[in-house]
């Protein structure tokens, strides 16, 4: 439906767009990291686009991804970027929906921030940073938003141990006390 958005993107920002596709009726544009802010600013301000509604930001961790029903070549391997940052946008004026995707490798988990373009992305990018550890360059206040400052690691990454607990406070008389002896027992066991 928003194929004309993809066409216009490819026309105006050919160097910044890696790939465009349509997935289950949603138009997706893969954007290079360097060109993301320019593309977003154009999408927001251009009279034929006017994407005024930032819907969400999230991230996808592709570690060990084995899709069912797709060729094995599409599975994740070490050479592919591990994270995908997704920006879902909506234009109420022209009734367009568009998803911007940015590929982010693990060793360089940085992504340009769009909080300056749409202020509503401020807390959402903080959430994405909190859960996945993506550093949003240019974000005004990149701190954890849900978890506490003492938390180590990023819990929604696929390699975060499922059983791991990071307690702030525990009773003194527990038989297995993860605060007193961090390796004294299984974190999930009681």
């Amino acid at each position: 439906m928003a194929q004309k958005v993809l066409d216009a993107l490819k026309q105006h920002h050919a160097s910044a767009i890696e790939l465009t596709e349509s997935v289950h009726g949603d138009e997706v544009a893969w954007v290079k990291r360097e060109g993301l802010v320019a593309v977003a600013t154009w999408l927001k301000n251009d009279p034929s686009m006017l994407f005024d509604s930032p819907v969400f930001v999230t991230c996808i961790d592709r570690l060990d991804w084995r899709p069912v029903g797709l060729p094995p070549s599409s599975a994740w391997n070490e050479s592919k970027p591990r994270f995908e940052v997704c920006y879902q946008l909506r234009s109420h004026t022209h009734k367009y929906r568009l998803r911007l995707k940015v590929a982010v490798p693990e060793h360089d988990a940085h992504c340009p921030s769009l909080a300056g373009v749409w202020p509503a992305f401020d807390w959402q990018e903080r959430e994405t940073f909190d859960m996945y550890g993506i550093r949003f360059d240019g974000h005004p206040d990149l701190r954890r938003i849900y978890l506490y400052e003492e938390f180590v690691g990023y819990p929604l990454r696929k390699d975060y141990p499922k059983e791991k607990r990071q307690p702030l406070v525990r009773r003194d008389d527990l038989p297995i006390n993860p605060i007193k002896a961090p390796d004294g027992g299984h974190h999930g066991d009681r």
Partner: protein, 181 residues
């Protein structure tokens, strides 16, 4: 099974034989005037409201008012999931309550973490504070809650609540230390 509400005087006497008359009277007063502090964090709160409302009526058993200040209450009801981030707040609330204090873990999340076995949920509020009665269920039926409350009342009467036992232990230790000198 479970706890008898009505007991004969003989059974009472056997159960409370080791208590002095004053202790017996104090505990009797305590068990019928439990002031609840509802630490409501999640959907179990709906069930708590139903228990506190007129149909099931927690007030019949003396747990009359929900007091929204921990300093005026002696029964902490942990209703709903406790996250690790909430742990310090829960401990602080518990520390502010006046002795003797009792804790009910309301629902399976407060008891064991329930189905939230992940990075953020605490595996049961007894990781942080001592719990007297666990009420399972997701959420528990009001009848279960009333059963748990009666169980707690029985325990209060016997002087076997956590804080009562702790006070007794501290008194014994102090008496022992005094006699040693």
């Amino acid at each position: 099974m479970g706890v008898e509400i009505t007991t004969t005087r003989l059974e009472d006497a056997a159960k409370w034989a080791k208590q002095s008359l004053v202790e017996r009277a104090t505990n009797w007063g305590r068990k019928f005037s439990l002031f609840t502090y509802p630490f409501v964090t999640a959907c179990c709160g709906m069930e708590f409201m139903s228990v506190a409302g007129p149909k099931y009526d927690l007030a019949r058993f003396g747990a009359e008012f929900p007091r929204f200040s921990p300093r005026q209450s002696d029964l902490l009801m942990v209703v709903g999931t406790i996250t690790e981030k909430q742990g310090p707040a829960l401990k602080r609330v518990f520390d502010q309550m006046a002795e003797p204090k009792f804790v009910i873990a309301f629902g399976v999340c407060a008891s064991t973490g329930g189905f939230y076995q992940n990075y953020s949920a605490m595996p049961g509020c007894d990781q942080v504070i001592p719990v007297d009665v666990y009420i399972p269920g997701c959420p528990p039926r009001p009848e279960q809650v009333l059963d748990g409350l009666i169980m707690l009342m029985d325990r209060v009467q016997q002087g076997r609540g956590h804080s009562q036992l702790r006070t007794k232990r501290e008194q014994l230790i102090a008496a022992q230390a005094a006699s040693d000198e």
